[in-house]
């Protein structure tokens, strides 16, 4: 009798053996259509793409590719005013370093469209995050996970803010809507290290945890970082609603923003960290 390990191995070997072209799945929004419907939809999409081509700088070198090697569309347009107002690092000239788009290589998250080529920034390095790039994109498919039966798994989001760790082979990085930045939840973690993005005006952040003293970190070019600390005893599990307690050690339960005068601007609670 086979185990799930046997079945997974069989699936992986089959996937490894198959030509890439036949492995490419339909985009999620097309999965529920019949074959004829898919072809009709593809024809429509092709026509739309042809019309939209002048607005997209397809010919800009280098051609960016996503984690799976698929070309990613680009644009020479500027980010929306809202993002430029929030992130000084995006404005021209940037306070930090601009980055050659080639540095993005093939590390872009799948489903991202319209990378703004003139607004790619090298973020200040931090332990655990030595080569992070910030870029924005016109849209992206953020649909992941298991939607309810019959629901469309794709969630097309507009005007994304993305950070990619360009040396990690596809495992680091995130793209979110602008609202995530203003909500105080733009936090990345890797191992015991953390990295955060905040809007202009935030000079210092205070990270609070349920089980040990708070950490105060200085903001540089819209970013801050923090490092490991004594984690609580118990398993590193803990997700809202699950019986086993214990926050993930990298994620604070709240973050407070302060301006350059030390005045508290706002405090944001992290729902994913269990106190």
């Amino acid at each position: 009798m086979s185990t799930f390990i046997d079945r997974l191995e069989t699936d992986l070997v089959r996937a490894c053996d198959a030509p890439v072209a036949t492995r490419r799945s339909w985009p999620a929004p097309l999965q529920s259509l019949s074959r004829r419907g898919r072809l009709r939809m593809l024809a429509v999409l092709t026509a739309v793409a042809a019309i939209a081509t002048p607005a997209i700088a397809i010919g800009v070198a280098p051609i960016l590719r996503d984690f799976f090697g698929q070309p990613v569309s680009t644009t020479a347009d500027a980010p929306p005013a809202e993002q430029l107002a929030l992130l000084g690092i995006l404005r021209d000239p940037p306070p930090g370093a601009s980055a050659d788009p080639a540095m993005l290589g093939s590390s872009i998250l799948p489903g991202i469209h319209g990378v703004r080529m003139n607004y790619i920034r090298l973020l200040p390095p931090a332990p655990g995050f030595p080569h992070q790039l910030l870029y924005t994109a016109t849209s992206g498919d953020l649909g992941v996970g298991d939607p309810p039966a019959g629901a469309d798994p794709a969630i097309e989001a507009k005007n994304l803010i993305c950070v990619e760790e360009v040396e990690a082979s596809g495992a680091g990085g995130d793209c979110t809507e602008t609202s995530v930045l203003t909500s105080g939840h733009w936090l990345e973690s890797a191992g015991l290290d953390g990295y955060g993005l905040v809007p202009d005006g935030v000079a210092t952040v205070i990270l609070r945890y349920s089980d040990h003293p708070a950490q105060t970190e200085t903001v540089t070019d819209n970013t801050f970082s923090w490092q490991g600390y004594p984690a609580p005893a118990g398993p590193i599990t803990g997700n809202a609603g699950q019986p086993s307690p214990g926050p993930t050690p990298e994620i604070p339960i709240s973050i407070t923003w302060l301006d350059s005068n030390g005045k508290v601007l706002s405090t944001h609670t992290n729902a994913n960290a269990v106190s």
Binding site: F4, L8, L12, S189, A190, G228, A231
Partner: protein, 184 residues
């Protein structure tokens, strides 16, 4: 004879050249340690199984892309990727499935025997042995005490008769070593 990073890379190179069975061999060599790593950290066997599948599918995306370098230390790459996927799962409340969708892998369905297998994997000492193969002993000691046994730095430092700062650096370096293994 235990597989080395060199052997692992040979298996992945062969898989890239078209010998799919080599990826199966690689999977058989390493799925236990990755599953042990994950099963210690999640309460639900289904989540551990999903993360295991996504981790190996993510590696397969690298293997299938000839423009990308293969990881210098494939096992280190797997462990760091598994941990990152686990953290992402905590952040987003769901397991990423992009790589599995890419390869149209069947959803993981578990029976009672599978669940028992995953629970047992969480008690398996194979993980510790592999970590010590990958890292200098001081780093491996610190990493296993902190990440596997989940002790706080004060306790680890007391046991090692050194300072917390030293232990933090060892843990950080151990993670950096594993992460660097992914870089290439």
């Amino acid at each position: 004879m235990e597989p080395t990073a060199h052997d692992d890379r040979e298996l992945l190179r062969a898989a890239r050249r078209g010998d799919a069975e080599c990826f199966g061999t690689f999977f058989r060599e390493h799925h236990r340690v990755v599953l042990a790593f994950l099963a210690r950290r999640v309460d639900e066997p289904e989540v551990a199984a999903d993360l295991l599948a996504e981790t190996f599918a993510a590696l397969l995306t690298v293997v299938r892309d000839p423009r990308r370098d293969l990881p210098a230390s494939p096992l280190g790459w797997l462990l760091v990727t598994a941990r990152n996927l686990l953290i992402d799962r905590h952040r987003h409340g769901m397991v990423a499935e992009a790589a599995r969708r890419r390869f149209q892998l069947a959803p993981v369905a578990l029976d009672d025997g599978d669940i028992e297998l995953i629970v047992e994997a969480g008690r398996d000492d194979e993980l510790l042995r592999r970590i010590y193969e990958l890292l200098p002993v001081e780093q491996a000691d610190a990493l296993t005490a902190r990440v596997v046994d989940e002790l706080d730095y004060e306790v680890i430092a007391g046991r090692a008769n050194t300072s917390e700062a030293v232990i933090r650096k060892r843990v950080s370096r151990a993670l950096a070593t594993l992460r660097a293994a992914m870089g290439s």
